[in-house]
Amino acid sequence: MKRSLTVAALSCLALSACSDKFLTESPIDFVGPTNFYGNAGDALAATNAAYASFVTLPSPLSNDGYYGRNFFMIVEYPTEVVTNRLSAGNERSLYDNYNPTMTPAHPYLQSVWQSAYAGINRANSVIDRVPDVPMDTVLRRRLVAEAKFLRAVHYYNLVGLFGGVPLRLSETVKLEDLETPRSSADSVYLQIFRDLEAAAAVLPERSAYAGADYGRATRGAARTMHAKALLQAAAVGAAPATSNTRAAELLRQVITSNEYALDANYGSLFDGSNEKSREIIFSLQHIRVEGAGGRLGQWIAPAPRTGSAVFPGALTHFSVEWPFFQSYAPTDVRRNATWLMSFVQDGRTVTFPDVLPTVASARTALNESYGGQTGGPVPRKYLDLGAVDGAEGIDYVLLRYADLLLMLAEAVNATAGPTTEAYGAVNAVRARAQVPALSPALAATAFKDSLFVQRRFEFAVEGHGVFDSRRNWTWAKRRVEAHMALTGSTGVGINRTTFTSLVPKLNATPINDRWQLFPIPQRAMELNKTLAGKQNPGW
């Protein structure tokens, strides 16, 4: 009896000792932090996923929530370049026509905000965890630098759209300290500068990467992005004016690296045929595989009124604004490279006539010649006819050499006026587009405004719209208001369709200055109590 009790007691002790193990859960059919971040492969996979945050965001986030659609809608609609051809009250039109009924509850604001932070969390995870992964030091440092570049891009988007935002710089690993207070725009930009500086110090130049790594962030990309953020910050007063000087320095460094150049063929940059052009500094990589491709097709492709769609589910949600379309210089190669002038539908080639003297003839052209589609000509950029939604193969270009040149001109002009260097940069871009050189000896302000007009033509539907507008707000407001007048009910709006009860961009002149920033999304304010009372002015 005594012996059995001893045996029992001993087995109890043994049991207590192993009880922790007995009750410990370890992932067996999924990946968790305990069985991940263990080697170079894991570190690479974590970094790859940070890139993927621009392309596909899984449920409950939506693939449409960021660069799949909503980002372009809130960035491009408020310009005079495109319209969505929907009625005035439609949730998409609220941006298009500066509709006063727009509220912070708009779902696109939330989706862009949430998607950007989902991407930031992925980048933070790399920045926090990869330094502890046993692996090749050079690669390890590079991966962290890549993540810092990606984090900076997300914060650049956030601060440009919403102003100062909460700064989260480490991965969310526990359910504590979840509510981060809003930082000032200055401190967000400061963090962006810091990240890009650190990234540029480590990242290889484009040519130093192995071929299989094409698409990763480069030193040139980090410097260009840094310059971009400096310009934006200086223009909105979130950084000192000397930032322009620093931006020019960085851009010159990229130029002298001889890694990049203007491409002779503008249109090839957006049709998938020239994705490794020396002009491209950084692009989101897309291939024709579901989940790893682009998603803009169904939003930009022409929706047929009759016959079959040229792209599955096509909806014509980015029609060119007619006055803008008309304002291209006749020689400008960018018009036909940016807008779809011809396509094949049901075995028939549909062509939009080059010259349309009147609105009536344009309407006729739309209804009869242009495939009977609804709305004006649609973007050709990023339109991968023949692919399916979510598996479109054309890369989205975030940074390219023409941008670098126009930014250089802008930075130089801001500090030293329109110097030869500034003129040279602008005219290089104009020459490639086959438009005449800029009138010489412009005043600094006129030079700046012409620069921004040029940016509209050069970067239409590339995700620069409201960022550019906010960098030169008075100019942008005047220009968009003028276009609103033109497209009004008595004007030349041809985007009116059976869907449309009002012509877009009619509603709200003068444009309210609150549109210099979008409101902080309602849901973000509800869930993060520290944002209470911190809404942007006017919203």
Partner: protein, 1065 residues
């Protein structure tokens, strides 16, 4: 809590000391005697005679005789049998001697000495301190019960049973004392022969047959109800605390039949029956439908879809309900052998084999179960006993798609309600008709597949092979100290194989689609307990301590393929599909473990004051790393008032006991690994090639833990005149730390996290009354009646700062908003517009001036009056003040799917060998959302109910109860419903009415038969209800706590008649 932990550890250590000491040679003595009925002096067989405090017991034989072999000594010997009061007598017997001890048992209508299982032990009913209901299965003994949980409806107060699907093998959802979880599993814990089984229907279902919304199959259908000896339901915290973290939803203890008697008894049980759909919709015929469609077109300013020229050519007049339903057979065959040997080394055995074959009332559906059971126990000397309960079964279900959807994924029932009578089942060329192409397109017909093609051609087969084995060894070190060790295993191999051939809509689009899903669940259990029982003067103790461990592992595989060369092989050769990119395949594996220390002290003072202290300390792998262990204590006190001197000799009150209890139990319904951080995979590409990626998908919550329910219970047990028993209980249970999916600040990079927040309260009363109106006697009629009643009130107290939780859409076809969980309201209320009937005429219209956002104008005569309940203030905030406009803000709470009360009433009339047994079951005050009517009262894209057409509003019939024929008049805008679709789900049902005849013994004994019984049973004969649809007892939304009480093409209830025969040899 340190002392508790120490206590548990000590208890467990004691329990581990189960090493038998060598058997000593003993001096054996005998106690012999006969047992008689004290009223009639008849000899009583099957009386259990026990030497109290030992394991020695035996049943009397046919001649009422028993013989016990015991070591020499003084014993209290007790004789007991159902229907009689137990009698104990003392006897002293010397070594080698034989003492004679005869008993005379007084007959009793009221059973106080009946033994009930309380988890890790048994108790006499008179000694219970907690709320424990023994299910009265007698009323359903002759009904064709295929699954155990069907026994619970109407037979136990406080146990609400709703059929998630009435399909053979379909899921049934059980709530003991209301829903105390919002997102977690709220089904009770089932303990089958000591083996706890978490009945997580969603978690254990394998595949969905390719349908995204469907009702999971019922895992309990593996257990053969004929094998069941007793069902006990532990309800209050005192009773369930012994199951600790798993006790909060109540515990259903099921014990199967054990060997008894002396000689082997063979029983053959056979029944055969016929089932038919209990109720159908009264739908328009072809002519009526075409009138209806034409009127719709006229009202919508469209051309008539069925002009006379067309009408002449339409010859079909299909009654689609007739086509999908059939008279379905059911047969069951069961052979049981039970027996025991005499003596100290007694063997008891119960073996059974059964076969059930049930066709469903919908074409193509059915169930077949083969089951076998072996319960064996062996006594080795007076101290040692080993035994095993083993059951194996294989359930094969042929499933016909029903429930859940209405358009492309609609099931057979939805399809039959939508398909118009002008469509033939098959076209002239033999192919199935298709509503989408065969109905004039101006009507905008839905893409609903042909219901007959779904029923007959889709192969959807589920198999569930299960082996449940639990073996034990028990050793009595002293008569007062017993050790028990058990080791059990549960093995379930489930599969679901589905094939959509080309003749079906889905198969035609994919050139055949095959889905194979399989899952294997293995669970093992080790329990070690020690029980010490001692009476010291006026103090009686029963102390239980134990240590248990359980582990479960689940693996699953899924494969899906399309583009088959031909339909010949169906789902059997999934590799033959040529789907682009190959078949899609996935697999998974999860596991959980549970380790527990348990203890219970029953202390009785002076046989009148009863105390029970129960506690369990559970450690679960599913809880977060910081919250692995929880302690669940409870205490109860009962006072046997009737044993006080002032009542002891009462002629009126036989028994009166007042009970009260308080305690805390848990619900561990966290899925494995939910507390862990998780990464998901996602690809990106560089240089045109895919690269793998992993990103943070879920944030860890090391504090994730059980839901805690604190329950207080007060009750009384009363019996009067040896004729009437009353048990009444009142309770309040508050559950906190509800598992909720909480929205995180967007900046965290995550959307949601599972957290313990919020609380919910259930409170209610339960009454159970039994009356022996006329006692059994040789000549006259005997009548026993039993009624039970339960009322439960459910309130969500708070949701951790969240205003409300919206359940998933009710159907994906219409994105109908799901039920809402709102603080201050009952769980899962329906949310929609209130409709106040039809606007009769211009005067009525003038008084109803609200603008309707869906139409952009004021409503007109013949349209619905939608109630304006809310508006917005100048700051845009919602205020509950009418604003003259109908907008989405005017949606409000319109009903509660939970009944106000439930009741059951059974009656047994017996006369000579005849018995008539009936069971009424009722539910009152619940609302059912009849989504079927969305279509049958919508537009002629579906067929309509006769009522809806003939009682419609027209300018000449302004008192019509339905709105004028128009475009979906029962919806406001798209994707919203009105209170019009919400119906009173109250019902009273004659669940079973059974007449049986016991063949007189004199006709049998000559041929060696011991019993023979013939019976005829009608099930679900009548349902009194206002509900319009097939069956108000419905839950197409499955078994969760939200979206209950929704009817979307649910599998209808069957009415059945069975004829059965039971023969014992």
């Amino acid at each position: 809590m340190q002392w508790l932990r120490t206590l548990f550890t000590l208890g467990a250590c004691a329990a581990m000391a189960v090493v038998p000491s060598p058997l000593r040679a003993q001096s054996i003595a005998r106690i012999d005697g006969v047992v008689r009925d004290s009223a009639t002096a008849a000899l009583l067989p099957n009386v259990t005679v026990t030497a109290v405090g030992t394991r020695v017991n035996i049943a009397t034989n046919e001649a009422g005789r028993y013989s016990l072999r015991v070591p020499a000594g003084t014993y209290i010997v007790r004789a007991q049998r159902i229907g009689f009061a137990a009698v104990s007598q003392s006897v002293t017997v010397a070594a080698g001697a034989t003492a004679t001890l005869d008993f005379r048992l007084p007959p009793r209508a009221v059973q106080l000495d009946a033994v009930v299982s309380v988890g890790y032990g048994t108790q006499r009913r008179r000694d219970l301190t907690g709320a424990v209901t023994s299910v009265n299965t007698e009323a359903l003994a002759n009904a064709p019960i295929v699954s155990v949980d069907q026994l619970l409806a109407g037979t136990a107060p406080g146990v609400a049973v709703s059929s998630a699907s009435n399909a053979p093998g379909g899921g049934i959802s059980v709530r003991v004392r209301g829903s105390s979880s919002i997102t977690g599993n709220a089904e009770p814990l089932y303990v089958i022969d000591g083996f706890p089984i978490e009945n997580d229907l969603e978690g254990s279902s394998v595949g969905d047959g390719g349908r995204s919304r469907t009702v999971p199959a019922n895992p309990l259908s593996a257990l053969n109800p004929s094998d069941i000896e007793s069902i006990q339901i532990l309800k209050d915290a005192s009773a369930t605390a012994i199951y600790g973290a798993r006790g909060a939803n109540g515990v259903v203890i099921i014990n199967t039949k054990q060997g008894q008697g002396i000689k082997p008894q063979f029983t053959l049980d056979f029944y055969t029956g016929m089932q038919r759909v209990a109720k159908t919709y009264d739908l328009l015929d072809a002519q009526g439908y075409m009138d209806y469609a034409n009127e719709w077109a006229r009202n919508s300013s469209l051309a008539e879809p069925f002009p006379d020229s067309l009408r002449r050519n339409i010859t079909a007049n299909t009654d689609w309900q007739d086509e999908i339903f059939r008279d379905a057979g059911i047969q069951s065959f069961q052979l049981t052998m039970r027996g025991a040997t005499a003596g100290t080394n007694r063997t008891r055995y119960a073996l059974s084999g059964g076969l059930v074959n049930q066709d469903g009332i919908i074409l193509g559906s059915g169930l077949r179960r083969i089951s076998g059971r072996a319960n064996v126990s062996q006594q080795i000397g007076a101290k040692f006993e080993v035994g095993a309960n083993l059951t194996g079964s294989r359930v094969s279900t042929r499933s016909a798609a029903t429930d859940g959807q209405q358009n492309r994924n609609a099931g057979v029932v939805s399809g039959a309600l939508q398909y118009q009578p002008i469509l033939p089942v098959r076209r002239a060329n033999g192919t199935y008709s298709y509503i989408f192409t065969d109905i004039p397109s101006s009507l905008g017909p839905p893409e609903t597949p042909n219901p007959i093609s779904m029923a007959l051609d889709v192969a959807d087969s589920l198999t569930d092979a299960r082996l449940l084995a639990n073996s034990y060894a028990e050793y009595a070190l002293f008569p007062s100290l017993r050790f028990r060790v058990s080791l059990g295993a549960d093995y379930a191999d489930r599969g679901r194989y589905t094939y959509f051939p080309r003749t079906t809509l889905r198969g035609s689009e994919t050139n055949g689609e095959a889905i194979r899903a399989s899952g294997l669940t293995t669970s093992w259990l080790n329990e070690n307990t020690v029980t010490w029982q001692k009476t010291l003067g006026a103090h009686a103790f029963t102390v239980l301590g134990g240590f248990t461990r359980q582990a479960q592992e689940q693996t699953s595989e899924n494969a899906n393929n399309t583009q088959f060369v031909s339909d010949i092989n169906g789902y059997n050769n999934i590799g033959a599909g040529t789907q682009q990119g190959g078949p899609s395949i996935s697999s998974g594996r999860t596991a959980w473990t549970l380790m527990s220390y348990l203890g219970r002290v029953n202390y009785t003072l002076a046989d009148r004051y009863l105390f029970t202290f129960t506690g369990r300390r559970d450690g679960s792998s599913r809880f977060g790393s910081g919250k692995k262990w929880g302690v669940f204590p409870s205490a109860a006190f009962a006072w046997r008032v009737s044993d006080e001197s002032f009542l002891k000799n009462s002629k009126v009150i036989d028994d009166l006991k007042i009970r009260t209890s308080y305690g805390t139990v848990g619900n561990p319904s966290i899925r494995p690994y939910n507390s862990l951080a998780r990464l998901n995979d996602q690809t990106y590409s560089f240089n045109g090639s895919l690269v793998p990626g992993y990103y943070p998908f879920a944030v860890a919550n090391p504090d994730l833990t059980w839901e805690t329910t604190t329950e207080r219970n007060g009750g009384l047990d009363l019996s009067l005149f040896d004729r009437v028993t009353i048990t009444a209980d009142a309770y309040t249970k508050t559950t906190k730390d509800l598992l909720l999916t909480v929205q995180l600040p967007l900046e965290t990079g995550f959307s949601t996290a599972l957290q313990n927040l919020g609380s919910i309260r259930n409170s209610g009363v339960e009454v159970d009354v039994g009356v022996q109106v006329f006692r059994p006697s040789a000549k006259a009629v005997a009548w026993r009646t039993a009624a039970n009643f339960a009322r439960n009130r459910n309130r969500v107290l708070e949701l951790g700062g969240i205003q409300e939780i919206q359940a998933a859409f009710i159907t994906q076809d219409f994105n109908l908003p799901g039920s809402r969980i709102i603080a201050g309201q009952p769980i899962g209320t329906f949310y929609g517009f209130i409709s106040d009937g039809v606007i009769r005429d211009a005067a009525d219209s003038a008084s109803f001036t609200t603008l309707n956002f869906a139409t952009g104008r004021r409503s007109r005569p013949g349209e619905m009056k939608i109630r304006d309940v809310a508006g917005r203030d100048s700051a845009g905030r919602l205020v509950m003040v009418p604003d003259g406009r109908i907008t989405l803000d005017d949606r409000t709470i319109i009903g509660d799917p939970t009944p106000n009360f439930t009741f059951g009433w059974s009656n047994t009339l017996s006369w000579r060998g005849f018995a008539l047994v009936g069971l009424l079951q009722g539910v009152r005050g619940n609302k059912v959302l009849n989504v079927n009517r969305l279509r049958s009262e919508g537009s002629p894209r579906s067929n309509a109910q006769k009522d809806r057409y003939f009682d419609r509003w027209t300018p000449t019939n302004i008192d019509g109860s339905y709105p004028s024929i128009g475009e979906n008049p029962n919806q406001v805008g798209t994707n919203n419903y009105t209170s019009d679709l919400l119906e009173d789900g109250s019902f009273v049902r004659l669940r079973a009415l059974s007449l049986s005849w016991n063949v007189p013994e004199r006709l049998l004994s000559a041929r060696g038969f011991s019993t023979a019984r013939l019976y005829l049973t009608g099930s679900n004969l009548v349902t009194w209800t206002k509900y319009d649809g097939f069956n108000p007892d419905v839950s197409s939304g499955g078994v969760g706590s939200s979206n209950r009480g929704v009817d979307i093409g649910a599998y209808p209830l069957a009415r059945s008649f069975t004829l059965g025969l039971t023969v014992g040899y």
